[in-house]
């Protein structure tokens, strides 16, 4: 591993462990947004009771529809906004930032890449300025040859080679994929342990997406960075992530290794999501008549938040919030159907042929 850890402040507090070690932990994460309006006490329940761990050299995908709270989680983990409840732990210690200095220290270890590389790079500065600024903030004042070397290494790392060709360019002179690479290089300048990638490919062209995913994969394997990959495209989660978490209306509804979550989804919402994806190989076996939309998060449905759209919902689902129940090897689903309660709903088998009938009963 050629290290990016050239000059820069030493970090005695950053243990370099083996791949698989927990780096960042979200514990009972909760975020409620206050609604505007005089005397209004309503809040948007954007994120409720979310727990997960990011591990060294592993990719965790967070999948969900728009408005399910995915990006809010990324912003909370980047500490761009305060938590309503719960805590964020970095190597087991509470990482809540209280002042500017602790925030700087935190972002040196947890970096974020945004969805829109057109908006996240300042158009009035060339690549050199964008990267130099990040290097200076996170590694101290480098100058001359040292700085030059660091810049070239960063651009090399994101496969913008030869570096001279890109370093003096302005963002508008680069293509979408190149811009996203510059944004990734900027994040890498901090030599982070965690990368929060919020829909890093959804604004890019189809032919470029794969390149960015492969680049992130390379960073995971060579630098052992822990990556949170946020996406609405569950197929790309299967391709790229080690584990996948599915979110619905602010709660985690299912988690497990990516292959089993996509091939054998347990939660009725994940099943709907997987069946809704286009499948050119099997034009008959797809979700039909799926109706309804994500619920209002101001007054979320009581009990399981998916119950108004769920074909199996019973009174239990409408009154009590299902916990994450173990449904197999390191897999969990928040659905009462997998509990041992006598009043649990009966789920139809998740075989692909039988699924079509299920959703037709699902009215919103």
């Amino acid at each position: 591993m050629t290290s990016l850890r050239i000059p820069g402040p030493d970090r005695p507090d950053a243990p370099t462990g083996a791949p698989g070690d927990v780096v960042l932990q979200a514990v009972d994460l909760r975020k409620h947004f206050k609604l505007k309006g005089l005397g209004s006490r309503d809040v948007v329940h954007a994120v409720d009771d979310v727990n997960f761990e990011l591990r060294r050299g592993r990719v965790l995908a967070l999948v969900g529809e728009s408005g399910s709270g995915k990006s809010t989680i990324a912003r909370l983990l980047a500490q761009l906004m305060p938590l309503t409840g719960g805590s964020i732990r970095l190597h087991g210690e509470d990482a809540a930032v209280r002042n500017r200095r602790s925030f700087r220290r935190y972002v040196g270890r947890v970096q974020m890449i945004f969805q829109d590389p057109f908006g996240s790079l300042n158009p009035v500065h060339p690549v050199r300025h964008i990267l130099t600024r990040s290097i200076r903030i996170h590694r101290g004042r480098l100058r001359g040859a040292e700085l030059e070397e660091a810049l070239v290494e960063l651009l090399d790392r994101v496969q913008l080679k030869p570096a001279e060709r890109y370093i003096e360019k302005y963002p508008h002179e680069l293509s979408g994929g190149q811009r996203q690479r510059v944004a990734i290089a900027r994040a890498l300048a901090a030599d982070p342990e965690v990368l929060l990638a919020d829909e890093p490919i959804s604004m890019l062209d189809v032919s470029i997406r794969l390149g960015i995913l492969n680049l992130l994969q390379d960073l995971r394997d060579r630098l052992h960075i822990a990556i949170l990959y946020i996406t609405h495209d569950i197929a790309s989660a299967r391709y790229f992530a080690d584990r996948t978490m599915v979110m619905y209306a602010g709660r985690i509804v299912e988690s497990g290794d990516s292959e089993s979550v996509t091939q054998d989804p347990k939660h009725p919402y994940t099943q709907l999501l997987v069946r809704s994806a286009p499948d050119p190989d099997d034009l008959e076996a797809r979700a039909r008549g799926a109706r309804g939309e994500a619920p209002s998060l101001v007054k979320p449905p009581s009990g399981c938040r998916f119950n108004p759209r769920c074909p199996f919902a019973t009174d239990l689902c409408r009154t009590e919030v299902p916990p994450l129940i173990s449904v197999g090897d390191e897999r969990e689903a928040a659905c009462w159907g997998y509990s041992d309660r006598p009043d649990r709903p009966v789920l139809a088998p998740a075989g692909r042929g039988a699924e079509r009938i299920e959703t037709e009963g699902g009215a919103a």
Binding site: R238, A287, E293
Partner: protein, 364 residues
């Protein structure tokens, strides 16, 4: 409602009863001495009742083609040649490119309607949606009373699955999927014969995308209009389109029935495009993506424009420009065409190059 299965008779021969014929359409960008030739002699036929998919990377001219054919091209776009023949229900042919302003105004919406890219933002935020739909109807039916137009608007909303009491809603009170459906309702209000949809589902999540696509399919079956569906998501097109035209660098490189494109692509670019999506189902396969990026349309040379990114290019590709011809594969659908020199051995030989056979990957 199955659109793509041959049994339903959805695969009508496109040339038998064309509703829109684009012939040798050329478009330039820029008024100076050195304009960019964005479209060069593009010909495309849309059959009555057919769903035609238009796919390709961004910047390959998909939207330009649709906007030029409807004369909606914003400056500095300039149509430099060709004709767009529209055949009305009475069998009369009119060339849209030669209509005067008055008849063009009458023809729009009535004959040919378009749902724009980012339709979610195409609604005016300051008017209720009922009024926005009724305005369009009244502009084309001057004799109609406001109440009748409102009733028609309510009918249209119901058609796309939105409750008519939403007529008095403002766009911000609707979800993204509902706004998209309002746009479709508006486009269908005057019962056009051709509906052009420019990336109508790109901003939506998969569950909503599936609902919209099913709705379009169902309405198409009920009302019998034709659709040009523009997207970069080829797997979605395979499901909903009868026929797919793949564009590259301002030219159509392959035009075939949608299942043929998926199972038997004949052009290296179509094949590469299909291999840049991670599949959600089936075995995990190696993704190749497409190396490089689309060519700069201002600096196009001769020969095949895809040759720099093509695994099958040889010296003939730099000299000869491929033409759209029937593929050089036995037992292929005679109506399908592709533009690749591998399928034109006689021409290659006549020009003095070594003729190479169709590679096995493109002849399966």
């Amino acid at each position: 409602m199955t659109l793509t299965t041959p049994e339903t008779g959805a695969r009508r021969a496109p040339a038998d009863d064309p509703v829109l014929e684009i012939r040798n359409l050329s478009v330039d960008y820029g008024y100076d001495d050195d304009p960019v030739h964005v479209l060069r002699d593009v010909s495309l036929t849309l059959g009555r009742g057919e769903v035609l998919g238009l796919a390709g990377e961004s910047g390959c001219g998909k939207s330009t083609l649709a906007y030029a054919a409807t004369r909606l091209l914003p400056p500095p776009g300039l149509i430099t040649g060709g004709e767009v023949l529209f055949t009305g229900r009475d069998g009369r042919k009119t060339d849209i490119l030669r209509l005067d302003d008055q008849s063009l105004r009458e023809s729009r919406w009535q004959d040919l309607a378009i749902v724009f890219q980012g339709a979610m933002n195409s609604l005016s935020p300051v008017y209720r949606i009922g009024r926005q739909i009724a305005d369009g109807i009244l502009a084309h039916r001057p004799g109609m009373s406001k109440a009748d137009a409102m009733a028609r608007a309510a009918e249209m909303l119901e058609l796309v699955g939105i409750s008519p009491d939403r007529l008095r809603s403002y766009p911000h009170q609707l979800s993204g999927g509902m706004r998209q459906r309002v746009m479709i309702a508006m486009a269908l209000a005057l019962e056009p014969q051709v509906l052009i949809m420019d990336e109508p589902t790109t901003a939506l999540d998969v569950v909503m995308q599936r609902q919209i696509v099913e709705q379009i399919a169902e309405l198409r079956d009920r009302l019998g209009f034709s659709v040009i569906f523009i997207t970069h998501d080829v797997s979605l097109l395979i499901e909903i389109a009868d026929r797919i035209a793949i564009m590259y660098a301002g030219e159509i490189v392959e035009d075939a029935a949608s299942l043929d494109v998926y199972q038997r692509p004949r052009h290296p670019y179509s094949s590469a495009l299909l291999h840049s999506f991670p599949p959600l189902r089936g075995p995990r396969r190696e993704l190749t993506g497409i190396p490089g990026s689309p060519p700069d349309l201002a600096k196009l040379g001769g020969g095949c424009h895809f040759r720099d990114r093509c695994a099958f290019a040889w010296d003939a590709c730099a000299a000869l420009a491929p033409r759209l011809t029937a593929p050089d594969v036995a037992d292929d659908d005679p109506r399908r065409t592709t533009a690749c020199l591998r399928h034109e051995p006689e021409r290659v030989a006549a020009a003095g190059f070594e003729a190479k056979p169709v590679p096995a990957e493109l002849a399966g």
